[in-house]
């Protein structure tokens, strides 16, 4: 369980103090899939960075399973907005890095990587240099690299934002399957309301900067979910609800 109590974050820069987050309270249960949406620059990435342990809060408390979050941990995998691959490693080595770092035997790593190359639609690209892939392919490598260690908590910052619509659909389906199998705790950031409603158990809508969690919309659809859920009237109704909170100006 991840808990945030009255968390605030200010950045101190040359052009003064930027309040990025103010008074965020959030509880994510084990195995829950929580999606955060919000306008650009409202502090979503900041929130994720705090939970990951990259940044310390200016005020408030963050805990995971009762322990304060003091730094990054292999229990919390992160997928960034940018792929951030290591250009000196091949695609295969990038994906297998997490296993290598914890001393997994080479042949086991090899099998696991083969598996992920396959699901990510990257078969045949294992020996390529990471920079020889397209942006969307690189992002899939980054996702595979985070998932291969089967982390208990997945922190994803607009992971599919750079993908084309088709691949994004594939990835969403893949993530739903994965969640069904492994039941990780997921904190997922997106600006795509449809994606939010399709994936999440709850959708949190953040307010403009300094960000706080404004509203929360529960997503009651049963799992396992399939992509055609997005075509049902109930789904559209819920999407409309979230949109009306996020962009009240679009509804009058």
């Amino acid at each position: 369980m991840i808990e945030l109590r009255q968390v605030a974050k200010c950045y101190h820069g040359q052009n003064g103090v930027t309040p990025a987050l103010a008074d965020v309270n959030l509880t994510v249960q084990d195995g829950e899939f929580v999606v955060v949406v919000g306008p650009s620059g409202c502090g979503k990435t900041t929130l994720l960075g705090l939970v990951a342990g990259f940044e310390r809060p200016s005020a408030g408390m963050l805990t995971m399973d009762g322990q304060p979050i003091l730094g990054p941990s292999h229990q919390r995998a992160v997928v960034f907005q940018q792929p951030t691959l290591y250009p000196w490693l091949t695609v295969r080595q990038n994906i297998g890095l997490g296993l290598k770092l914890r001393g997994t035997p080479g042949d086991r790593t090899r099998l696991a990587v083969d598996h992920y190359l396959e699901i990510m639609g990257l078969s045949g690209f294992g020996e390529h240099a990471s920079y020889q892939l397209s942006g969307g392919m690189q992002q899939r490598v980054a996702i595979a690299r985070a998932l291969i260690v089967e982390p208990g908590v997945l922190l994803m910052d607009e992971p599919f934002g750079a993908l084309d619509a088709n691949t994004r659909g594939d990835m969403q389906r893949f993530l739903l399957d994965l969640w069904q199998r492994l039941r990780p705790t997921v904190l997922f950031i997106t600006h795509d309301v449809e994606e939010a409603v399709l994936l999440g158990d709850r959708v949190l809508v953040m307010t403009d900067r300094p960000g706080r969690i404004g509203d929360e919309v529960a997503v009651p659809f049963a799992r396992p979910r399939h992509w055609d859920l997005a075509l049902t009237p109930e789904f559209l109704q819920l999407k409309r609800t979230v949109l009306s909170i996020l962009r009240p100006d679009m509804f009058f």
């Binding site: 730094g71 990054p72 960034f80 951030t84 290591y86």
Partner: protein
Amino acid sequence: MPTLGAGMPEHFSSPGRQPRWMWVLPLLLVFAVISLWQGLVSFKVVPTLVLPAPSAVWMDAKMLVLQGFQGQTLWSDMWISALRILSGFLAAVLIGAPLGLWMGTHRVVFKLVDPVLQFVRPVPPLAYIPLMVVWFGIGEMSKTMVILLGTIPVIMISALAGVRSTPRQRLQVAECLGATRFQLFRHVILPSALPEIFTGMRVGIGVAWTCLVAAEMIGAASGLGWLVQIAGQDIQVGVIFVGIAAIGVLGYLMELGIRLLERRVVPWRGHT
């Protein structure tokens, strides 16, 4: 990327590839310069003592290679200069790069070493020569030390800058994969710093040559700097020319060597 260009016409395979006839251009320039030079001499615009004819310089070169000048052939001077450069430069890289990496990863080391580095850096390496000669004589040690002292700040600063320029997210990715401090260094920081270190090495090899030639001019009995210096005292302009050309050729070869090594070690250079 050997596979990407396969099957395509030669000049399409990489965007930077020049048309075939481009190699003529430098030859053309050399030909033009030699013609102008021969003209200046033939029409007695300048006395041959100041500017000997190209053919005379060619004779000097042959003499230098076959008989040598004041007891040393050109080859032996080139050889000894190359050895000095390599020993001083390799020492600078082998000591400077780890030191710079260490400074970049440990605050205490940085605070300790940086003031010294900042103090030493603006001192022209030539200023060390008298001291080195007094301490180590005119033997090999003094040359190695001058090159080492002159080059090591460049290498250290490049390694430090390489560590500093490691993108934060690269570190964060590895931290989330459970990397230990050492793994973080080995798998992220070191490879991220390598391109900068190579840039430092390419600057450094130039500095090393400056140091070496100056050191050989002041206190040495062999080497290309010594050759040029002695020839100057004898007003043997042709020999000076050959000496300078030899320095140029060796310097170029070493730069080429570093570039080759760079392409092997950091083929990802320029890619994120």
